[in-house]
Subunit: 162 residues, 2 copies
DNA sequence: AAATATGATTGACTTTTTCAATCATATGGG
DNA sequence: CCCATATGATTGAAAAAGTCAATCATATTT
């Protein structure tokens, strides 16, 4: 990030602060919810990925690990549907997590085609650490919102995301 | 039918209804704002891209076109910063729009390295049509929220996106 | 039992992202 | 004014992510 002469003018010291970009903040595009959503997630997942890097994880693999640790015994198909990913991407993600000993593919007695993704003990430990990092990252990304605003945001997003 | 689990579905409420996926809605991950943001934007931009396809545009090119039409005379560097894209991606985007006669690269008298992206008359017409489509797409994606809720969402997102 | 559908997997292919290098032009310091 | 350094646009390469079709094993339907 460049550090222009006099950074930090207002409290809004996130990215793009202090340059001449405020001009574009007033455009119609900058007010579109879809645009803001895309930008928020870009900033958020960027930061989360950076911080998760120390665990050699990304938001994607963290999501899979999190669901594996959820107690809901998700199958790969369910992971694909829930995460809006192609089944082949789930294969790759699970391969990596399995290779590092974080999860296992368990047979589903009720459908032998299906593989349930379960965490190992090491996987649970990894998840605990990742969870803490994600919490920090999220906290930084949402720094401008108080708890109640975060609750409101969560609820609104939930209604358009599900 | 290309999109797996993305748009499509019935125009009404909850997609992914009726399968066994509700189970995962209760997980911690499903309550994380960052996860919901990612999912909302995935659904939203998926739908918008589908609908913009008839104009041979995507959300990306629409964004560039929109900023070009904003009256703010953005340079490519500013587009890159504002859209969080690599400068080389802007080159490609502008190339396409320029090739189809929607925008031009104007010299900036104050900095001859810089190129200001300006719309042509045809570009403005294209933008008008795209804007209408984006409005429809957005309206569908936000169907679960009333006007006031949309305002609230917009404001909350703006605060974390800028 | 046969036909059909589904979950996981592989491989090919396209698109998107990310980086390093280059050229032209600006800018700041002697 | 000249030099060193920084920046905007561009290209090209490489990595990552997303899309698709085909296959195998197992379920389900008829």
């Amino acid at each position: 990030m460049p550090a222009p002469t006099t950074a930090e003018a207002t409290a809004s010291s996130q990215p793009t602060a202090g340059n001449g970009l405020e001009r574009l903040y007033t455009t119609d595009l900058a007010s579109e919810i879809e645009f803001l959503t895309a930008r928020a997630r870009s900033l958020g997942s960027g930061r989360a990925n950076n911080m998760l890097a120390e665990l050699d994880l990304k938001v994607r693999s963290y999501s899979v690990l999190s669901l594996a640790c959820s107690g809901q015994n998700p199958s790969q198909r369910e992971l694909a549907d829930f995460l809006s990913l192609d089944p082949s991407q789930i294969v790759a993600l699970v391969d990596q997590l399995e290779k590092r000993g974080a999860v296992t593919r368990e047979a589903d007695p009720r459908d032998r085609r299906s593989k349930v993704i379960a965490p190992t003990a090491a996987g649970r430990r990894l998840f605990k650490r990742a969870e803490a990092i994600i919490r920090q990252a999220s906290d930084q990304s949402l720094a401008q919102l108080n708890d109640q605003e975060r609750e409101t945001l969560r609820d609104l997003l939930r209604r358009i995301a599900f």
